[in-house]
Symmetry: none
Subunit: 289 residues, 2 copies
DNA sequence: GCTGTTCTGCACAAGACTTTGCAGAAAGAA
DNA sequence: TTCTTTCTGCAAAGTCTTGTGCAGAACAGC
């Protein structure tokens, strides 16, 4: 039997976040919400019958509660709960719950876990959101990056193109970069991935793109550089590596996050783009066992 | 011939535990198990159709795989997977009061934190150690990778070269790849970074390199493929992405780990290499504010 | 205490997911 | 190579889950 703390301000602050809008709920609905709040695992994988049992109501009430909260139905609400619960766990899970096996690989992984966690704080959600908007509306997207830090840029440009966005990776410096950036117009976007001491030509590229009216999105670890100043949207990531090198892990993950943002913003477009591309791949017969 | 350090099936030592009995599986079944192993969230919450899509098989094969493993069916297997996954990640996680800032970026970071944590289990330290030895003694190192998964390969090759190792990234397919791999000799090394369904030409490249007597080091997410079989040293990483794409974050971190391993093994050489390179960079006067 | 409104539970309908029969494809044996 | 066996994909059948109309119960206002 579940003690219900008489509803109001349900799900505030806990793992539910704002998944449950603060509406006026009926008694049965409040019991459902309480049950969900207190049983995160059950909430994220149980079916209506199990939830109803826990809440002590009929299964129809579970279904109707989901609808009352603004979701299409139980499955829709559960999808949301699931995502939040898993993210919550990843946020709060202890770093190492097992016997340590120290090895360079293990150190590197642990180190990058820390980088990713720090990035949750350093990346400004508003800047990310703005960046997604700029990308979604861009007529043309150029992605630049140099050396080992081009890793994120390569992946980002490739996946953007896969999803049907007009994106290209530009990894060359000098005249190539100049002509690529020179062709940018208002409504276009330049995405710069760079860590460590700023490279002159990337900074200049960003400044030129900005002058040309293009939107400059920069993923970097330093915020007081001319590169950062030339950017419209700045996404800061930590980059400490396990030895002498900077780690691009966080910047890569941020790149995936931007793609997820695009998918959330215009799912149809992304889905269609991916389908087109993967069909093409199948026809090329590239795969084996 | 070189010994293969694949043997002890480290992939099953991870979050799956002994949920998957070590039976002889058919090709499609092995693909299903691989897909489940590297996509824990999908495995825990997806339906047969989604799993089948990821594994590149028909949904019936997913159902039949569950039965072949001794479960009553997919739902039965999934219940088991879910329980193990949640135990693996949640364990003692307390419900903290941290304010959630949910955004696609945040989700992606949390997701990749999970991938890195899982990678601590899936990467076999012995295989990694052997790989480091092979790299340290190689007369020549070719690093290959394609598409967005080339991110790790690009970074790895670049940093190897920076540290003074005879490494090159080879991102082109066809005749270019053929001639590059064709030049490998005993004592050389081929490093393959690849996720997702194996590409024919990468598999063939690995097989040819192996035949030529070179050491093949592979960082990938699937262990039942011909690519994995052709490898001397296999480093398995999880690769579940936040949306439709696989995440190369873990493979990138493993690349850094290999570099750290090299540094631990021969610090002088790496230090000298980096100093030489960065001095050169300074002379080129590439940096700004 | 009466009456009108809202809510809940039941039972069934609609829908989604999983399993299986079958036939063709692939792999292995002779 | 040919024959036999095993495996896989398709599509239909079977099972389970979710949603809704209806009728009775609870509640609030008078």
């Amino acid at each position: 039997m579940d003690e219900t703390t008489e509803s109001q301000t349900p799900g505030n602050g806990g793992w539910l976040g704002d998944a449950i809008p603060a509406l006026k709920l009926t008694k049965a609905q409040a019991r459902v919400v309480d049950a969900l709040t207190v049983n995160p695992k059950l909430a994220s994988y149980g079916d209506v019958t199990e939830i109803a049992l826990k809440a002590g109501v009929n299964s129809s009430s579970v279904s109707r509660t989901a609808q009352a909260l603004g979701y299409r139905g139980w499955s829709d609400l559960q999808r949301e709960l699931r995502a939040r619960y898993l993210v919550h766990i990843a946020d709060t899970a202890p770093l190492s719950h097992r016997v340590e096996v120290r090895s360079p690989i293990h150190d590197s992984l642990a180190h990058d876990v820390e980088n990713l966690r720090l990035a949750m704080d350093t990346v400004d959600p508003q800047a990310a959101d703005d960046a997604v908007t700029a990308l979604a509306t861009a007529r043309r997207i150029i992605v630049v990056g140099q050396g080992s830090y081009s890793a994120s840029a390569v992946a980002f440009a490739h996946l953007l193109a896969t999803a049907g966005y007009p994106a290209n990776f530009e990894g060359r410096a000098g005249v190539h970069l100049a002509s690529a950036v020179g062709s940018l117009r208002p409504g276009d976007a330049l995405v710069v991935f760079h860590l460590w001491r700023p490279l002159k030509h990337l900074t200049i590229a960003a400044q030129l793109a900005r002058q040309a009216g293009a939107t400059v999105i920069t993923v970097t670890d330093l915020k007081s550089t001319d590169l950062a100043k030339a950017s419209n949207h700045l996404l800061l990531v930590p980059s400490e590596g396990v030895y002498a090198f900077q780690s691009a892990t966080a910047s890569l993950s941020v790149a995936y996050g931007l793609l997820a943002g695009l998918e959330a913003r215009e799912p149809e477009r992304v889905k269609a783009g991916i389908e087109r591309t993967s069909q093409f791949w199948d026809e090329l017969d590239l795969y084996t066992n």
